[in-house]
């Protein structure tokens, strides 16, 4: 299999995953017994009293169905839905922020979420793996065992307890960071990058710590077993320096399963978003989803779920596409 076949296969798989994901998000809400338009119309009717004429209600229903893509039989709806989502990225207007389009709201929130979660996931991956590497490579040194204990202690702590502890320590006992962050309304610019970084530090620290434990423990055991591989022993007998053996021999090989693990953990990134953004009132997609769910904003919920499917699948695709850089056995067969 050549490298192009590898790429073609990954991209093909990516498109299939997206398609299935979009299809499920389309059909799942339609299996619910309630019709959002009935609900909306009855709301308007109760507000207006009995003053609406049946023709007006019928016209309203038809307009709403058009607006929310609920016109025609289910197949027509499906085709229209795919057409709107894929070609125009249009999820209709928001119920709560009518008439602002849902896609605008998502695109405003998405950079916040991606910025926070990508950076903290990758930082936690890098630092966790480096600590795990040292702990595994020098497993017979007492000082390295201390590093492993960090992982063992951090790993089992549930995220919300970890996050609350960090808030308590770093915002209350030692008020280093603000208790509730404030973000400039105009978004990221050169001038306010410092403010944003400072205000994002607390949620970022909790996310890094939460991902830490697992990365340390798994890298430690990987490095420990890789160190016993014949090629590492042979490198030692060749007189290769300790540093080169640890980096070029042990790390380069032990990181491969960890890159795959990074792709998998990027998949769960939006789980983290929901809780983190609620705890820190951080203006990302997680908070948007929560608002949408609690206020019955179907379009917004739809849009943010679809967006997270696309984001997760894309992150996985990117890792798959750069994986051959690390493993020549896939690059040149």
């Amino acid at each position: 299999m050549s490298i192009f076949q590898y790429f073609a296969k990954r991209i093909g798989l990516y498109l299939v995953v997206l398609f299935i994901g979009l299809t499920i998000t389309f059909f799942l809400p339609r299996l619910m017994p309630t019709n959002p338009i009935d609900g909306y119309i009855s709301q308007i009717e109760s507000r207006a009293g009995q003053s609406l004429r049946p023709e007006a209600i019928a016209a309203l229903r038809s307009n709403l169905e058009e607006l929310y893509g609920l016109k025609g039989d289910i197949f027509t709806q499906y085709v229209n839905y795919l057409n709107r989502v894929i070609l125009h990225f249009d999820f209709g207007p928001s119920f709560t922020n009518y008439p602002e389009p849902v896609s605008d709201m998502i695109f405003r929130a998405l950079p916040w979420t991606l910025g926070l979660l990508l950076v903290s996931t990758i930082v936690s991956w890098i630092i966790g793996n480096l600590i795990g590497l040292v702990a595994g490579y020098f497993h017979n040194k007492r000082s390295a065992t201390v590093l492993e204990v960090v992982g063992i202690l951090l790993y089992p702590i549930p995220y919300y307890i970890l996050a609350l502890t960090v808030i308590l320590v770093l915002a209350y006992f030692l008020p280093v960071f603000p208790l509730s962050p404030t973000f400039p309304a105009e978004g990221l610019t050169f001038g306010n990058a410092g403010t944003i970084l400072f205000n994002s530090a607390l949620p970022a620290i909790t996310l890094v710590l939460a991902g830490f434990g697992w990365n340390i423990l798994s890298m430690k055991s990987l490095a420990y077993t890789t160190k016993e591989e014949p090629y590492v022993t042979y490198a030692r007998l060749k007189g290769t320096s300790n540093w080169k053996r640890m980096t070029r021999y042990v790390f380069r090989n032990a990181m491969l399963p960890q890159v795959t693990a990074l792709a998998l953990s990027l998949g769960t990134i939006f789980n983290g978003a929901l809780l983190t953004e609620m705890l820190f009132s951080y203006p990302g997609v997680g908070l948007l989803m929560r608002t949408a769910a609690s206020s019955g904003d179907y379009n917004l919920l739809y849009g943010s779920i679809t967006m997270s499917i696309i984001a997760v699948a894309t992150a996985g695709l990117i890792i798959d596409l750069i994986y051959p850089l690390f493993d020549p056995r896939i690059r040149n067969r």
């Binding site: 090629y231 060749k238 290769t240 056995r329």
Partner: protein, 323 residues
């Protein structure tokens, strides 16, 4: 000349200390190929580790020493305590399995530059590596490959190229051909012999295969249960072995045209954990007497350059009965 003075090497385990090499004394003259033969667990590989100077927990050099017969840059004689600085410069090592001994994710070219305190112009060294590899019958581009792109025979040639690149005085080869098919085995052994002839270095070769020993080695050491039992010129050993164990080993080799079933040597070597008394081969030896069971035989030179540890090494009974 490499001199082993009463080398005792022990492993520290949870059950206690066990001597895997128990008092081996040898002199290996420069520029010859020495084979080490013996059953699994007889201490061949441990002896190789000691000679290479790869001594670290759980292995320890309990007593004795190894002199390599040369001095380091500061003029101090090299022994097993400071040989590590000479790794791959004056003593090198060919591992058993070339597939798993090369790092799968970096190019062979880079693995050639991984030797200790590599100084000098990288490009220049690479040029030398290229022409050297070519001399060994490999395409120049093979050093730009990753290990998985080469065949087993090519990889083993690469290992030999690495081990001989700096023209070391001593090369240790621990079953260098076991993982290869016989055709490739032969070409690898011929290559090793060829290089040895050109460079005049000493090769110490461990192999289970008595046929390999017969064809390749100048001298042979037979080990049994952590002891050296016979040492001498290979031809002598194959023609006129002194120790009954050697004789039985040679008798178990098949010859073309002789289709009688080959007999193995009944029994197993003694456990090194037991308290051992007398000759360690006595339980399996057809010639053993009470003297063998109680008195340990000395490792003595019976003929010029031909040593053995057997009470009856030169007796007529030994020569005629076990044949």
């Amino acid at each position: 000349m490499i001199r082993l003075n009463n080398v005792v090497a022990s492993y520290k385990t949870e059950r206690g200390v066990v001597n895997a090499v128990d008092g081996v004394s040898l002199e290996i003259p420069d520029g010859c190929i020495v084979g080490i033969a013996g059953e699994s667990g007889c201490g061949k590989s441990t002896l190789m580790k000691v000679i290479y100077g790869d001594i670290g927990f759980p292995l320890a050099l309990a007593s004795g020493s190894v002199d390599y017969g040369f001095s380091d840059d500061s003029g101090k004689p090299v022994t097993s305590r400071n040989i590590q600085k000479e790794w791959f410069k004056r003593i090198s090592y060919v591992p058993q399995s070339s597939m798993s001994s090369l790092n799968p994710v970096i190019r062979i070219r880079k693995q050639f530059l991984d030797f200790q305190d590599q100084t000098g112009n990288k490009a220049q060294i690479l040029e030398q590596v290229k022409s050297y590899v070519k001399k060994l019958g490999l395409p120049e581009e093979s050093i730009d490959s990753y290990p998985h792109q080469l065949s087993g025979g090519m990889r083993q040639r690469i290992m030999i190229a690495m081990a001989t690149f700096f023209q070391p005085e001593i090369i240790l080869a621990d079953e260098p051909t076991t993982a290869l098919d016989v055709v490739v085995q032969k070409s690898i052994l011929l290559l090793l012999m060829d290089l040895q002839e050109q460079m005049g270095n000493t090769i110490i070769l461990v192999s289970h295969d008595m046929g390999v020993h017969y064809q390749v080695t100048d001298k042979m050491l037979i080990m049994y249960a952590a002891k050296a039992v016979e040492y001498g010129d290979s031809e002598e050993i194959f023609q006129r072995p002194l120790h009954p164990y050697t004789r039985l080993l040679i008798n178990s080799l098949p010859t073309i045209g002789d289709d009688r079933a080959r007999e193995g040597i009944p029994g197993r070597p003694p456990s090194l954990w037991n308290k051992l008394q007398g000759c360690r081969f006595a339980d399996r030896c057809p010639l053993a007497t009470d003297r063998c069971r109680n008195e340990e035989p000395e490792f003595v030179e019976y003929r010029p350059g031909h040593f053995a540890a057997c009470h009856y090494a030169d007796s007529e009974a030994n020569l005629s009965e076990v044949s």
